[in-house]
Amino acid sequence: MLEVRDLHFAHRGRPALFNALSFVARPGEVLALIGRNGAGKSTLVRLINGLAKPSQGEVLLDGDGLTGLRADQLAGRVATLFQTPEQQIFHDTVEAEVTFGLTHIGLDRTQVRQRVEDALRRTGLLEQGHRHPLDLDHASRRMVAMACLLARKPRVILLDEPQRGLDARMRARMSRLIEEERQRGAIQILICHDMEFVARHADDVLALHETGPVWADALEFFADAERARRIGVGQPLAIELCQELGQPGCLRLDEVLRVWLG
């Protein structure tokens, strides 16, 4: 279980972003981190992955504190897909990029090769292994970063806008990966401005807002239209339709149509 306990943080010269923030996320759970631009979503991810330090409070994984660990100690447990994949890619072939994260962690060559191949296959990059990552289009670069993350099989996966700029085909692939990782038992934190994507995957949401954070079951959170509007995220279409049609709340569009149309 990932536990964020009594976290305090402020950027230099700015008002406090977090005052005693606490929440938990369990294995197999997707927690969506939502809110307006600048609300602190990416900062919270950096506090979990060790790139920023809280002034007070701690982050625990299965009871072990992550806050004081070195980057190499954290890397096997927590992996991040950043907003801009170009900032986390530095090898000159896709295959070398994915392989890099698997060296020096006690795997033999066969295991490394299998993991790399598996990650490239799942991300649709099997035919692109020899190419320079920066010669690929932006969506494929994000898949390269995702392949690196998947190959490590981390306990905690932090996804910062994974669907951003993806077309329908690539979004479907990203959705599949998130659900596969759920099945594996990973704890996933999903920063996302697309409430349809949130509705599709999130179990819980943590909404960050200047009036204070709201941590709630996703369905319960989005059922309150006024609160969703005030926080600046709006409602997913499925919930909006349920409320307009007088149906019980539901986050899945296909389910709404099935119930309404029979």
């Binding site: 631009n37 600048g38 932006h138 700029g165 993806l166 329908a168 909006e240 149309l261």
Partner: protein
């Protein structure tokens, strides 16, 4: 004479053809949305329009592009900057790095046009308000979030009041409320500025565009009406960003709506259709 006249443009990166026989005529004040899947060449197309790729200097190209009747190679840098601004997908690559504050960053381009201090200040104030950046006017651009940075990049381009504004995935970093604010702001440009939106998502296109196009296998397919555009986007497998239209298409796939009926584009229209279907 159209403001933009692109005729039979072909372009390839080495042996990889990206644009094939692309034709486009755009008049002043038109808003064109170009939608396409990942890697289809939207950004390359935007680079051609904005003069970042210039005929005669770039290999593997043929055809012609005239702006106000002249090729980009005939434009001086200042005139070029007054004519077109391109805001790319990565907002961190958009800022100059020469401004200590958000307000300075917005003013940078406008100052370089040789405008008076009063006019620069007026534009900065207008843009900060339109892009919801007033509270961050004195912040360091390098300390902004991704969405704030994207608003800054677009705002700095708007402050230059170019004839043509090209936006590559303008809403991709923005929260839903900020996306709607930006759409409202861009809507006000309609009469003065020719707008070209490049996107994988149809959300901005449906609210802003007066013309639509889909870039598929290097060819630009033009549509005058949103309905034909949405159907084609679905056919090409590129439709994303309009859950309302998605439901309309799902109903059509189940033969629950006439093939020829227009797709719903608002929640109200969709609710009405679902109620009618249920009653029937």
């Amino acid at each position: 004479m159209p403001l933009i006249d692109m005729q039979h443009l072909n372009f390839a990166y080495r042996e990889h053809a990206v644009l094939r026989d692309v034709n486009l005529q755009l008049e002043v004040g038109e808003h064109l949305a170009v939608i396409g899947g990942n890697g289809c060449g939207k950004t390359t197309f935007g680079h051609w329009l904005s003069g970042r790729l210039v005929q005669g200097e770039t290999g593997n190209s043929s055809g012609s592009l005239l702006i106000d009747g002249r090729p980009w190679s005939a434009f001086e840098p200042l005139e070029h900057a007054r004519t077109v601004q391109f805001v790319g997908q990565l907002p961190e690559q958009q800022i100059t790095g020469l401004a200590a504050t958000v307000a300075d960053e917005v003013a940078f381009g406008a100052r370089n046009l040789g405008l008076s201090v009063v006019e620069v200040d007026r534009r900065v104030e207008q843009v900060l308000r339109a892009c919801e950046l007033q509270a961050l006017a004195q912040a360091n651009p390098f300390e902004l979030s991704g969405g704030e940075l994207q608003r800054l990049g677009i705002g700095a381009a708007m402050a230059m009041q170019p004839k043509v504004l090209i936006l590559d995935e303008p809403g991709s970093n923005l929260d839903p409320a900020s996306r709607q604010v930006l759409i409202n702001t861009l809507r006000q440009l309609r009469q003065h500025t020719t707008l070209v939106l490049l996107d994988v998502c149809v959300e901005f296109a449906l609210q802003l565009a007066t013309r639509f196009a889909i870039l598929e296998t290097g060819q630009l397919h033009h549509f005058a009406e949103p309905d034909a555009f949405l159907r084609a986007a679905d056919r090409f497998g590129t439709l994303t960003g309009s859950p309302v239209a998605d439901v309309g298409l799902a109903l059509r796939a189940r033969n629950l709506r006439a093939q020829s009926a227009s797709l719903p584009t608002t929640v109200a229209a969709l609710v009405s259709e679902l109620k009618d279907l249920s009653d029937a």
